[in-house]
Amino acid sequence: MSSNRTHEFMALAQSLPAGSPPPTSANGKKGDSDAYQELRNFHTTAAGISRDIAGTSALLSELSNLVRQGFAQPQDQARMNQLVMHIKSQIEGLNGRLDQASNTMQKQRRKVGQQAGEEAANMMDGLKSTFAEAASDFKKVLQERTDNMKEETDFQKQVYDYNNADDDDPIPNMSSLYAPPVFGGANSNGFPALDLTSSLMSPGDNTSSLPRPHGISSSYSGSDIRQRRPLEYNNSYGSQNSLGGSLYSTAQPPLTPLDIQRMEEERGLQQQLIPDQDYLQQRADAMSQVESNIVELGTIFNKLAVMVQEHREMVQRVDDNVQDANTNINMSMEVLTDTLMSLRTNRMLAFRVFSVLVLFIIAFIIFFA
């Protein structure tokens, strides 16, 4: 839909003299010109809408080109995300304006001439059909993109070899499904950048840090904490509860952009997530602090064990030395007792000798007397 000349035609139709009398209304002539004024406004808005639809389709064609390239580069991914956001917002805006325009058109249709009314209605229909076409094209492109990304993740899964493949696989993607995908700062349009790739991070990335809300720094570990995360998010984002429930049951990795789009179409969701980021960030911080404390404790225990191990040698040396000392002293005690015994015995010997001598002297005296 590149050139919509309906506007020109409408202007032309209006420039016709008031030969076609408008149907009588209670307001009279003044009311009629007001009605025509409103009709002119309506046409201007319709022109604006059609211009925007043209712009949107241009963006859409760029997006489809990027998608059709296949496995895209990161900057292409970023550009694609940007485009998706832009197009989506434009589509929403256009939707609103179209509804508004059709409402006003319905209201004015009675006041304005039958021909002009019919023209306006036809124009409305034309705009709506073009818009519907653009929206369906957009959806098709998104679907194609999802398929591409799915292929990519399958490929990645085959490449990476990780041990607990069975329970890890659905759950990281589950937690990423629940994780609000809009973090990661704003891009140039002022919208939070849709970080679709972070939801598809390889589950084999086992670092020791905890899962965080996306965009802060996402990495996975600890299946308990991972399993708790979907529940936490389930409570936080109540509006996604039904969707989350269905996602759980069908167990579809990876998160399709369509799902994200659907989730974000809930009113004001984008604004909600950003204030919540504080709370979640606090929780993440608390958990990481607890984790680091526990790790620190672990190292301290290790050091303790090493030190005690060193002491074991020293204690053994002390034991040996004391044992030696004990032996020495025992032996010397033996020697000293021998000495003592010998000392004592020596006296005995002397005593015996002396007694023999005395006896001999007595015998000698008896012999002489």
């Binding site: 409570n235 936080s236 984002y237 109540g238 509006s239 509860n241 009113r267 004001g268 604004q271 909600q272 204030p275 919540d276 504080d278 709370y279 606090q282 929780r283 608390a286 958990m287 602090q289 607890v290 404390n293 526990i294 620190e296 404790l297 301290i300 225990f301 050091k303 303790l304 030190m307 005690v308 060193e310 002491h311 020293m314 204690v315 040396r317 002390v318 030395n321 004391v322 030696d324 000392a325 004990n326 020495n328 002293i329 032996m331 010397s332 020697v335 000293l336 021998d338 000495t339 010998s342 000392l343 020596n346 002397a350």
Partner: protein, 200 residues
């Protein structure tokens, strides 16, 4: 660190003002004559902030040194907790979540049609208020953190004493070395005394 007030509020598109269902306050830190005005201020703040909070959203707003943490669930039931500046926001939201869950469980769906303010009596609200005055007791994460800090401290002391033990063991090694050397000498001299000459 204290919690001043707590309110469970019903919001909905059919109401132009959120309706407080239950209110609990702990105003002992204010003078007796100030309490009424403080309570009114709390209600006013609650209503204002709840109006601005979307379902499924949490917010913390600071006002004159006190922080009001608001949380609205997706089904329209919401609550606010007014605390002083030091109280950790995370604990406040945990408390809110638990309180709202219990409220919804006990009241079933009857709260959805209430339009008169402060009409629902819910005694656990007061209990929660009292319990959460000390966040370290009520919030598990805070408790764990505190225990971990204590444990770390104790472990540091343990490591210090183990180092001391090492030094003492070193002393012991030296001393026992000396002892065994001395006893050897003693033995030798004893043997010398014994064997060489016979003392009479």
């Amino acid at each position: 660190m204290k919690v001043v007030g707590l309110a469970i509020v019903r919001t909905g598109s059919d109401l132009n003002e959120p309706v407080p269902l239950t209110v609990a306050t702990e105003l002992s830190s204010f003078g007796f004559f100030q309490r009424q005005s403080v309570k009114e201020m709390l209600m006013f703040l609650t209503k204002t902030f709840m109006k601005r909070t979307e379902p499924g959203q949490r917010q913390s707003v600071e006002h004159e040194g006190y922080v009001v943490h608001c949380y609205v669930r997706s089904d329209g039931l919401g609550g606010t907790v007014t605390t002083d500046g030091e109280y950790p926001a995370r604990v406040a939201f945990v408390m809110l979540g638990q309180l709202l869950d219990e409220f919804a469980q006990k009241q079933g769906d009857s709260w959805k049609t209430v339009t008169t303010p402060e009409s629902v009596t819910f005694p656990p609200a007061d209990e929660y208020l009292q319990k959460y005055q000390n966040p370290a007791e009520a919030d598990k994460i805070t408790k764990i953190q505190k225990d971990l800090d204590e444990t770390t401290q104790i472990l540091h002391k343990t490591i210090d004493s183990v180092l001391e033990r090492g030094v003492k063991l070193d002393n012991l090694v030296e001393k026992s070395n000396d002892l065994s050397a001395q006893s050897k000498l003693f033995y030798k001299s004893a043997k010398k005394t014994n064997s060489c000459c016979v003392v009479s």
